[in-house]
Symmetry: C2
Subunit: 331 residues, 2 copies
């Protein structure tokens, strides 16, 4: 990839902007190209609205432009922004308006010469592993695995709470609530411990459908029960079995995404993995089974770090990640 600073003659010590737009909000970072120092980070109100044409570019800009202006003012940084990178959930399917509007809007606002538009899984990958072959599993309310050998991407799952996201927070929480209702009914596979925690959180079990189905954020409501499942796992075999099955599903996704190259590594990133050992212990075993010989590594950074590093790449020597219409576009 041609460097923006070569192409435009911009100063190598200019600044870049990284943006991470997800279901739970929007985060922005300003960083200096010369030494890659992050000058500031901030959270903007979010999440960004989604309309019939996908992610609403106007709402996105209403959040991002003041946040960047504030970061630049706070850093006393008046040089133009050389490059920006945006990682957004649903960029491939819902990002048409963003792709059309953002590069021009960033150029007008900050003098940006190049913008990277990436799926959130790509910024998660870039933040966790940087430009080397492997696979990253990004887990939170949902779950997606992304892998690359640096010539193409391999994606697995990330299909949402009804079609997939197997092993995600919503998946674990849903399975835990099902086990609670089984106990309430006297069906096999029930857990009295999970029933007690569900009733503490949501009130009497018979009222759970009315508490869940009218909500528009059902996956988040389900995922909010995942920590209760993890908390029960030590003493409750049903809860432990839910986490073991989740671990198998997560390893399935990692296996499908990981490229068959000897130097591949795998990293787990996102809030899901803060469930701790009740999930991580069976997950290590499942990964060892699915991907023998593939080393697990600690993520170097988060998706916002990934967005910043993609912006650095665009400003500097060019990114080594493959471009892909659904995952990574340079505008």
């Amino acid at each position: 990839m041609e460097s923006v600073s070569e192409r435009t003659g911009g100063p190598a010590d200019a600044v870049v902007v990284g943006i991470d737009s997800g279901g739970s909000g929007l985060r922005v970072a300003l960083a200096r190209a010369a030494d890659r120092a992050v000058l500031g980070r901030t959270a903007a109100p979010g999440p960004v609205r989604t309309g019939p044409d996908g992610i609403c570019a106007e709402h996105f800009l209403e959040s991002v432009l003041p946040a960047v202006a504030a970061l630049r003012a706070r850093a006393g940084e008046e040089r133009p922004v050389l490059a920006a990178a945006v990682g957004a959930a649903g960029m491939a399917t819902l990002g048409g308006e963003l792709r059309a509007v953002l590069p021009g809007a960033f150029a007008a606002a900050w003098g940006v010469r190049g913008t990277v538009l990436a799926a959130d899984a790509v910024t998660a990958y870039a933040g966790a592993l940087g430009p080397r072959p492997g696979a990253v599993v990004a887990g939170g309310t949902g779950l997606v695995a992304l892998g690359t050998d640096l010539s193409s991407w391999r994606r697995a799952d990330g299909w949402g709470h009804l079609l997939g996201d197997c092993g995600s927070g919503a998946w674990i929480g849903r399975a835990g609530l099902e086990a609670a209702m089984r106990a309430y009914d006297g069906r096999r596979g029930g857990s009295a411990a999970l029933l007690a925690r569900a009733e503490k959180l949501h009130g009497p079990a018979a009222g759970l459908p009315a508490a869940l189905y009218p909500r528009t954020d059902r996956p988040a409501v389900l995922a909010a029960f995942a920590p209760e499942v993890a908390a029960c796992a030590a003493d409750d075999p049903v809860a432990a079995a839910v986490l073991e099955r989740a671990a198998e599903h997560i390893a399935d996704a990692a296996e499908a995404a990981c490229p068959p190259v000897p130097e591949a590594v795998v990293a787990l990133t996102g809030g899901l993995f803060r469930l701790g050992e009740p999930l991580l212990a069976p997950l290590r075993a499942a990964l060892a089974d699915r991907l023998p010989g593939v080393r697990g590594v600690t993520p170097a950074g988060d998706p916002l770090d990934g967005a910043v590093s993609l912006a650095f790449s665009l400003a500097g020597g060019g990114t080594r990640f493959p471009e892909d219409p659904d995952l990574l576009r340079i505008a």
Copy 2:
């Protein structure tokens, strides 16, 4: 239960009305008390709207009153309607307005002296088995099992597509679509046959989330894929395994609902069981395991027949089914 005709002195040969209100529509029957002959059946436009106060009584009556008037006119039947019985999905949780409004509205319209208000599972039970001990599994898009020893009811599942309805049409369809997406990703547990059928039905796999999540009738969209799973089961081990797990779940619900009395029988009713042998063969095996010695019987009638028989009971000698605030109320 005291008989309405005894209580009111109404004629024993009067007529009764049975109503079955479900997710897919509303059906009404008019029947003669003297010989229990059904004089006519009709379908009213449905389903009945649900508002913030539950099932909308006004909309319900707008559908039911003209339908009954047409049935009476067609049968040349001018005698008053002695009793009515309504079975409605969500009667316990969403039926507050129906319970408040219907008895008075029926009395004003047809001279009705007594009304039975029942959960749809109760009319399914009454139609399938009549007043004898056992369990009925009602399966369609959702799934609920109801059992009784004639002194109290035992309910299992029926908690909707996220909390339960295990083994239902939505459950089978969802599991089938997950297997399709696994094949698309190259994850374990995928089925190329189910992927081909999903793409034939919904277009390219990557577009499936956009085809499903914006819909308000997601459970019905999922359930529409269940026949595809059944059609693949003979040649596809993944599809067969989905139906085997569904059969286990259905048997779990039947087991929890069935009363521990020697004369108990079990019946399966609803569109789910039209999936045929790919589901019924493993289900027979699972029921034999869960409920050894409990005889399976063919349902005598459908939920509308059940509503009519509840109305007969109220008009005549009284029902032997237990009253229950969530399941069966006499007004």
